[in-house]
């Protein structure tokens, strides 16, 4: 009941004309960048971070959340029509979606993706609404030691468990943690790793790193692969409405996808690859039309993973809002936006900023409705965006990257740093290092250090406090299991 009352307050915030406009702007922009290959929500929100100095926090987060949700919807359009996933989260959608488009069922594929995204997004948002207060109650019991252990667990799951290699994921994470350490230590006022450069005293701005990795690195990567520019856009044929049979084949995968996606997203592991693949294999196994998988394209293989993707995206917001624990690059950048307002996400947020949190959650329901309209009747508009010639698209991305970076301090030093990180990002792409752990390490690393030092101060420097309290010990044991389990499993099987 309390939750519903809070949600009601949230809607009164989110339904104000101004906030509705922010939501519309965010969902439109989000769909556009989701459709465009090479632009993602993490990059877009990083570029828009300066807006936090201009508008109230509620408006900024409604905008950012709209972008985040919108990118998930838009990414599927590109996957289906171009076979190049617009977002990493929609790789699986391309498997069946593009096959459907090629056999003349693009309309149905887009429809089941959009409606499935709506169903799952709404289920996921309901999940946030009712799960978040529960997690908050639990999290209020956490002390610094528990927080530190929880962050260690998140570090391990986002870098070592997801992705192709634990070593490379952790290398990216530690690199990010180091970047986060650069600058003045807030507790003692000592400069760390500034190499005598005054520019580094304030630390490296997360905008520079995110834009360097996601925009400059990506541009180099695409250029180096000799962009031939001959991606074929499947023309949009066929009705956008699904037949009765297609509806009946879609609704169960939507619900199953939501059920798979939300819990995995809400765990302190995050990631959308695992739930989308899991949903894909579930649908393939359960389908009565197995012959369509991989040949003419099975609608279940689009409906399930799309739902899983959107539900997990919603799930990621649970640890972000309730624990201040980002488990994806986009969430990490949203966390830095909170920091820019001087707000600390975490259990206290629900008490200190109820208008903001519940306004944000309510706006997610509204965003889903807007996105359904934007992505179904108006899908033709987004297909046009896909026709922007890639040379201009990538060159344009670099212009925005310049604005976002140069605008921070008007210093060419930032641009040099941006390009250096871009080259690192290029090498990381080419040699299969994940980029998200760098951003997460950079944002979460300093917070982990803060909790660690608090815990040590309380315990008077006794390290065993991390393992002597049952909750903290359990979290660390889970982290060790997540890190070593797969290795032991591999050795044991030999």
């Amino acid at each position: 009941m309390e939750t519903l009352a809070a949600l009601g307050t949230g809607f009164s915030v989110a339904l104000s004309p101004e906030n509705l406009l922010w939501c519309l702007l965010g969902t439109t922009l989000g769909t556009a960048i989701g459709v465009l290959p090479g632009l993602g929500p993490a990059l877009t929100i990083a570029l828009l971070l300066p807006i936090t100095f201009q508008v109230p926090a509620t408006a900024a987060f409604i905008l950012f959340a709209g972008i985040y949700y919108g990118a998930m919807y838009g990414g599927s359009t590109t996957s289906i029509l171009l076979n190049t996933p617009g977002e990493s989260a929609t790789i699986v959608t391309a498997l069946e979606g593009n096959k459907m488009a090629r056999s003349g069922r693009a309309g149905a594929a887009l429809a089941t993706a959009a409606i499935g995204s709506f169903v799952a997004g709404t289920v996921g948002t309901l999940g946030i609404t009712f799960l978040a207060p529960v997690v908050v109650d639990f999290a209020l019991k956490f002390g610094p030691a528990e927080y530190f252990s929880l962050m260690v667990l998140a570090f391990v799951t986002v870098s070592a468990v997801l992705g192709s290699s634990a070593v490379r994921g952790l290398a990216a994470l530690f690199f990010g943690i180091w970047l986060g350490l650069i600058g003045i230590d807030l507790q003692t006022g000592q400069a760390r790793f500034t190499f005598g450069l005054d520019e580094l005293l304030d630390g490296i701005n997360v905008i520079v790193v995110a834009v360097g990795l996601f925009a400059v690195g990506e541009t180099f990567y695409v250029a180096a692969r000799r962009y031939s520019g001959n991606d074929e856009i499947v023309p949009l044929r066929g009705s956008l409405y699904m037949t009765r049979e297609e509806w009946s084949r879609s609704w169960k995968p939507w619900l199953r996808g939501s059920a798979i996606g939300f819990p995995i997203g809400a765990m302190p592991a995050g990631g959308s690859e695992v739930p989308t693949f899991l949903s894909y294999y579930t649908e393939k196994k359960l389908s009565k039309h197995k012959e369509e998988f991989g040949t003419t394209g099975a609608i279940e293989g689009v409906a399930g993973p799309e739902a899983a993707n959107n539900a997990s995206a919603a799930g990621v917001l649970v640890p972000m809002l309730t624990l201040g624990l980002p488990t994806g690059a986009t969430a990490a950048i949203m966390l830095s936006a909170f920091q820019s307002y001087g707000i600390n996400p975490g259990p206290m947020l629900f008490q200190s900023q109820p208008q903001l949190v519940w306004g944000l959650i309510a706006s997610l329901y509204i965003a889903n409705i807007m996105l359904l309209v934007l992505n179904l009747p108006l899908v033709g508009l987004w297909v046009k965006i896909l026709r922007i010639p890639p040379p201009l698209l990538y060159a344009g991305i670099l212009v925005f990257a310049t604005i976002g970076t140069y605008g921070i301090s008007n210093s060419p030093v930032d641009l040099v740093l941006l390009y250096a990180i871009g080259i690192i990002g290029f090498l990381m792409r080419r040699y299969d290092f994940p980029a998200a752990p760098v951003i997460i390490g950079m944002i979460l690393g300093p917070l982990a250090e803060q909790e660690f030092r608090r815990a040590m101060t309380i315990s008077n420097g006794d390290w065993t406090v991390l393992v002597s309290q049952p909750l903290s010990a359990t979290l660390l044991a889970l982290a060790a299991l997540a890190l070593l389990g797969p290795m032991i499993w591999r050795v044991a099987r030999k």
């Binding site: 760390r192 060159a395 690393g445 660690f452």
Partner: protein
Amino acid sequence: MTAPPRPAGPAWPETLIGLGLLGVAAVVWWQSGAIAASPMYAKVGPRIFPYMTAIGLAVLALALLVAGLRGGWQPDEEREVPVDWRAVVFVGAGLLANVLLIVPAGFTLASVVMLVLVAHGFGSRRPVRDAAIALAFALAAYFGFAKALGVNIGAGVIEKLLGG
């Protein structure tokens, strides 16, 4: 296109990445020692996390080094695409021109030069059209995006002429 067969010996790019990260770890360790730490904070001072980071980086760098010497890890799908150095050089030249021009010439002019060079790197062969689009785009970005965000980016000749 088939990938060139994986060499039996070390894979040099991956080995170099391992060595490079080991170098980073060494720098982090060395600079961690240089952090001034007052004895008041001896137990939980500003050096502990940096040292832990250095150790973590070193361990991971060694693991990467071993993997590199054993033939590397780059996915076949990446290895079979040779790097188009010409494109990379043009993109790099565009970025370099941008950083050199932005202070003396202003954002718009620097963006136009960068955009034309980068588009060329991506295979566009219509520099005049690219420059025209770039000019319109850079001005729109300057007066729309940057002004709306309230960020101040270098105004040059063109911006001042237009009253920016």
